[in-house]
Amino acid sequence: MEAAIATRNLTRVFGGKRRRLQRKREPSEKRVVALDSVNLEIPHGELFGLLGPNGAGKTTLIKILATLLLPTSGEAYVAGYDVAKDPFPIRKRINMVTGGETSGYGLLTTRENVWMFSQFYGMPSRQVKKVIDLLAEEFDLQERMDAKVRTLSTGERQKMNMIRGFVTDPEIIFLDEPTLGLDVTAARSIRGFIKKWIQEQKGRTVLLTTHDMMEADELCDRIAIIDRGRILACDSPEGLKRLIKKDVTLKIETDRLKDTSVFRSIPGVRNFAVSENPKGRSMTTTFILEDDAPIADIMSEVLRQGSRVHSLKKTEPTLEEVFISLVGRGLD
């Protein structure tokens, strides 16, 4: 049985040459390699996560798989069909929900909007009504189903988008940062639904892109870490953590440091990422170390720069540390 999603050397380049029908005085766009020889194989029934910073290529990959964008080279297959040559059979089997999506029409009610999009998949109205009611209950949105879309809050709107995406009962669904910008309760409700859906609907496949390490860790069977268009690692969350199991993860909170680049020259430092703390003048630096030996050198450097150490702790590897180890920076 073929994979739900498969890509072979999938590459997508934007810009770099003059477009057809582009005006002459308009300058050519800068060449950007959004995807660089991506190879993935996602079997049916898997909840697969794509983890990467902004501009890593996650959305480009989803657009290609959703038949909205053509690859520059390489191949991509969804449900066994080639996205470039055979998009229509794919479209019957997929759906997509994007974080912060503002689709639909404000003058229609939530129910009417979902119904409208279901019609583009040819669903009989009577069947749609039943499914909408079930999904509205799942997302606790029953009372807002007859409200006009323009009156919905951000969280309610995203729940409507989720209902829209799942109402067609897709074989494969693309969720592009579906909890982006939501409050904790709304995000939890959406995560809970995704988890339940993949468990109950055997053989259905989810491709989830996210910024949220915890979300990826909690939901995904496997995760690919992507940066600058390249897949850097692909494994289960546990498998990814094992990649750096023997490494030491050290988090130090200090006053702001004048120069962090010097840490690169300390022997035994594999990688590190700096995040500014939102309040106050402190910063947290997360180090991935080969062993304990470099800790003394790191401390000496911090003190040499006249900075105070607020806290220091060694931690078990999380996906965040795996990400820092592979990418060399955090997601923020």
Binding site: R19, T59, R91, M96, S103, L107, L108, E112, M116, M123
Partner: protein, 278 residues
């Protein structure tokens, strides 16, 4: 085959729905799309009355009423994909399994029905306020011309929609550019034959060129059928104009299909079906 037909019929109804139902929920249309056009109509009516040719008042009311359809073509058909792209609908339309013609068809049917309600309201008010007498001698031919004009007009709108697919704010400028010049060459506020009587052979060419816009011939034919005393001001016989419109309608719809398929492909190659952040 049957499954696909059902899918596309449902898609067409689904896309028409927000235009037919949703748009009625905003009562501001009564002011903006019925009462405001009456002001323009009134201006022309008073000019004709001042010049001592009140017989053309009916022409103006009918032309001013039909303006609603042209505005709908420019702003709710041609520029529509631009708005859809901005709000994130376009990507959802383009990844759905329906035929693109069902999408365009839904936009056209919805637009035609929605605009008809506005046009009827303007026409009724215009007839009552300016005391117009309409004489319907051949209602079947009149209905056939009206419906064929709409079919051809929305066929042209479908071509515009597909051509505008890849454009951003340029779509806005293009629609502006097509507004007033078409009011002039299609003779919305005066008899089309004026071009021929005033400009001779050159005027005939202007009228012939303007006939590519279905509203030109449709309006000319409807005026002849509703104001038989002014038959002499018609450009061609209404049945001939109907025949031309019957040719234009399928040609435009076919061209829209080819154009949309080509531009969708181009959009997918260039990554222009969605906004960067979508």
């Amino acid at each position: 085959m049957r499954v696909n037909l059902l899918l596309n019929l449902r898609a067409l109804v689904g896309r028409a729905y927000p235009r037919i139902i949703g748009a009625q929920r905003e009562p501001s249309w009564i002011f903006f799309e019925t009462l405001l056009p009456l002001l323009t109509i009134a201006a022309y009516v008073y000019i004709y009355e001042y010049l001592g040719v009140p017989q053309f008042v009916g022409f103006v009311v009918l032309g001013g009423t039909m303006v609603a359809f042209w505005m709908n073509i420019l702003w709710s058909m041609a520029a529509q994909f631009y708005w859809e792209k901005q709000i994130g609908n376009l990507q959802l339309y383009m990844m759905a399994p329906m035929s693109r013609m069902a999408l365009l068809g839904g936009m056209a049917v919805g637009g035609a029905v929605m605009t008809s309600t506005r046009a009827v309201a303007t026409l009724v008010l215009g007839v009552l306020i300016f005391r117009i007498t309409l004489v319907v001698l051949d209602p079947l031919l009149l209905l056939a011309i009206f419906l064929t004009t709409l079919a051809a007009l929305y066929g042209l709108g479908m071509i515009f929609a597909s051509v505008y697919l890849l454009y951003g704010r340029e779509a806005w400028h293009a629609s502006n550019l097509l507004q007033e010049p078409v009011f002039l060459v299609s003779g919305f506020y005066f008899p089309l034959k004026t071009f021929v009587t005033r400009l001779g052979a050159g005027g005939l060419w202007v009228a012939a060129g303007a006939s590519i816009i279905p509203m030109t011939l449709g309006l000319d034919a409807m005026r002849q059928l509703l104001f038989p005393e002014l038959l002499a001001y018609g450009l061609l016989r209404p049945d001939i104009e109907l025949l031309i419109l019957l040719i234009l309608a399928p040609v435009f719809i076919y061209l829209a299909r080819i154009s949309l398929a080509y531009l969708e492909r181009l959009g997918k190659e260039q990554g222009r079906l969605t906004l960067r952040h979508q």
